[in-house]
């Protein structure tokens, strides 16, 4: 694993600007901090661990990065009980059984038969192996919600992320031809192991401020009316300050804006809030809290955008 020669410092700030504008072109508003981290991912070839609350576009980072680099995105969704056979590889048992039957009359020795049914032909490649076997260029490997996988898997991942090789007992060791760009995301539902964290670059994504969220809404929905966009963003920013069990993320803001546009609203009034509340709040208790929080005040604010 050899990294490219670091470019000169002045080139770096140029590259970071390119990342910012490139991402924006692809519909993802990023800031200097995240762009720098992504630049370092491409230069240092270290995995990037992105943490933050739900709905803030963590997964999106990897998708957009793949589009930006014009390379393949390989995604591994983690869940509790995720094991090697669904993350790395598995043998195609049905096919193996068939092959054994077909070979029955042949005069092959047991060793030859064994070699045949444990060849690449019978191997089902799961995301992690796929990312290593890619032939043409470094793919982006997204390991989504790593906090949901258990610690044993995390430990396995550690080995993979440092050497980018996989050992299959029947086949031998496979090395990566092109080291993937790795993005890990976590909702912090549990603390990750120190060893894994130490191997990664780190990025915390927080709720966006008013200005950034406005830019996100406008980038995603170029045709949204100015006043409506301002009201929606202000409304969501206000809601986020309430003590809710699930504060709305950017995904919710976008849902809400899209819903209002679909309903043909031009401005956000109490009735419109009522109709689109399900976009912002995901529980009965939260809805009640939002309704009783003095919405009139926030709705009557001038939209200064």
């Amino acid at each position: 694993m050899e990294t490219s020669v670091p470019s000169s410092p002045s080139a770096s700030s140029q590259s970071i600007d390119t990342i910012i504008s490139g991402f924006e072109h692809l519909g993802y508003v990023t800031d200097h901090s995240l762009a720098t981290a992504i630049y370092l991912v491409t230069q240092l070839r270290k995995p990037l661990l992105v943490e933050g609350h739900a709905g803030l576009g963590k997964t999106e980072v990897a998708k957009v990065l793949a589009a930006f680099l014009a390379t393949r995105l390989i995604r591994l969704q983690c869940y509790e009980g995720l094991d090697v056979s669904s993350a790395v590889y598995e043998w195609n048992y049905q096919k193996q059984l068939l092959a054994i039957k077909i070979q029955e009359p042949s005069k092959q020795t047991v060793e030859e038969k064994e070699k045949h049914i444990f060849s690449r032909e019978f191997l089902l490649e799961r995301p992690l192996l796929q990312s290593i076997l890619v032939e043409d260029a470094s793919p982006v490997l997204l390991i989504d919600e790593i906090d949901r996988a258990d610690e044993a898997f995390e430990a396995f991942l550690l080995e993979l992320l440092s050497d980018f090789q996989v050992t299959i007992p029947e086949l031998g060791t496979v090395h990566a031809k092109h080291v993937p760009f790795v993005i890990l995301t976590s909702n912090r539902s549990r603390e990750l192991g120190d060893a894994l964290k130490r191997r990664c670059l780190y990025q915390w994504i927080d709720y966006p401020d008013l200005e950034k969220e406005m830019r996100i809404v406008r980038t995603r929905f170029p045709r949204i009316e100015q006043q409506l966009a301002g009201q929606v963003v202000q409304f969501v920013q206000f809601v986020r300050k309430l003590p809710l069990s699930k504060p709305p993320g950017i995904a919710e803001t976008l849902d809400c804006a899209q819903a209002l546009m679909a309903l043909g609203k031009h401005r956000l009034d109490p009735q419109a809030v009522e109709e689109t509340l399900s976009c912002v709040s995901k529980s009965v208790e939260d809805s009640a809290k939002i309704k009783s929080a003095g919405l009139e005040r926030i709705l009557s604010l001038p939209t200064g955008q």
Binding site: A37, L97, I100, K113
Partner: protein, 382 residues
């Protein structure tokens, strides 16, 4: 924008690595983790990014040097103070914290920790090991509030041993209830080759039994003090034997002590607890503490397989309605809600306090916790 403090190291390029190494050390002293690997990462990042652009350098170093939200929040201040030592807010703050810590240690130690088994006592093990069978039996049934200080150590030993048995029994029980398991095709095929490809010997695999997660809330308000002394030890033992346990103390507010109980030896854990526990006397606000739990920790800790354990006598000075609502919210998230009440061991006790009667409808298991035997009975519910 060029960095105001940049002249420190821009004079000769040789100084840049030295400055960065110094910065890493500076950051480590102020709470960032990460060793030589991180320092090397910093040097490589600096070569890529250059040092002229202050914001770029800041973002880059932050990505390389931090590995959690806490560190992320710390970083900016460390970065600022390193390049501008004159306006070091951080050092002033840390000095303030130091003086505060001094206050704490001067204050009376909380009742929770009094009689902590010191190292001297722990070394003096000979006498405790020869405790006879009848003595053993007496200690298992003795109410914690009537125990003498010198019984404590003996009780502790018994508790640790019993809990060891309890956790292995638990795992064995799990294994036996697991169904036949699933066909392991991979190994079946492997072995079928020996039989000319006919899968005659079937191979199975079973899911490894996973013990439940455990969340413990321990009441250490004044009314609990005869019991909390021992219950802390019980919780310590639980945490030692069960893998996924999170422990909190509460009286008027909630505080997590999982990391403190992770200490290898009990006296160590108790010492760090006593440094932490201040102002524990005063009323009990179970509802408010549970509300803290629900907003801050529930999302992280409560899952479908979590067992939620409250150790409290139910004397609540807060609103019973709030207690009921918060408890209902917890109940919705977890597998089982257990309330252990030491007072339930008293012959004439009835759970009639306002708090307790508000709580009962939401509790799955309501059991006593006044002596070792009652605690061991907990096994049935885990």
């Amino acid at each position: 924008m060029t960095m105001p403090g940049s002249n420190v190291f821009m004079e000769g390029s040789d100084d840049a690595p030295r400055t960065m190494v110094a910065f890493c050390r500076y950051a480590r002293e102020r709470g960032l983790t990460g060793g030589v690997q991180v320092t090397l990462g910093v040097l490589r990042a600096t070569t890529c990014l250059g040092m002229a652009e202050r914001e770029t350098l800041r973002s880059g170093l932050r990505s390389v040097m931090c590995s959690s939200k806490d560190e992320w929040d710390l970083f900016d201040e460390i970065f600022e103070t390193f390049w501008h030592p004159a306006e070091s807010r951080l050092s002033r703050r840390s000095r303030r914290q130091e003086s505060r810590a001094m206050d704490h240690s001067d204050r009376n130690r909380s009742p929770l920790m009094s009689g902590a088994v010191g190292e001297s006592q722990a070394e003096d093990q000979g006498s405790q090991e020869v405790a006879g069978a009848s003595e053993h039996e007496r200690l298992r049934k003795a109410d914690f509030s009537t125990l003498r200080q010198d019984d404590l150590a003996a009780l502790e030993k018994i508790a640790l041993r019993l809990l060891g048995q309890m956790s292995t029994r638990l795992s064995r029980r799990h294994r036996m209830t697991v169904s036949r398991g699933r066909l392991d095709l991979r190994r079946t095929i492997r072995h079928s080759i020996l039989r000319g490809g006919e899968p005659i010997d079937l191979r199975y695999y079973k899911r490894k039994p996973q013990p439940n997660r455990l969340v413990i809330l321990l009441d250490i308000s004044g009314s609990m003090s005869p019991y909390s002394l021992f219950l802390v030890r019980f919780v310590y033992a639980l945490q030692k034997h069960f893998k996924q346990v999170n422990t909190f103390l509460f009286s008027t507010h909630l505080i997590e002590i999982t990391h403190l109980l992770r200490a290898r030896h009990l006296p160590e854990a108790l010492r760090s607890l006593s440094q932490l526990a201040t102002g524990w006397s005063g009323g009990t606000k179970i509802g408010a503490s549970l509300s803290d739990f629900n907003t801050l920790h529930a999302r992280k800790l409560c899952r479908a397989d979590t067992v939620f354990l409250i150790l409290s006598d139910g004397w609540d000075t807060g609103e019973p309605a709030m207690l009921a609502a918060e408890l209902a919210a917890v109940r919705q998230r977890v597998h089982k809600l257990i309330w252990l009440n030491p007072l339930l061991g008293l012959a004439d006790y009835q759970p009639l306090t306002r708090g307790m009667s508000a709580a009962l409808p939401h509790v799955d298991v309501f059991a006593p916790a006044h002596n070792l035997e009652s605690l061991m009975a907990l096994e049935r519910h885990l």
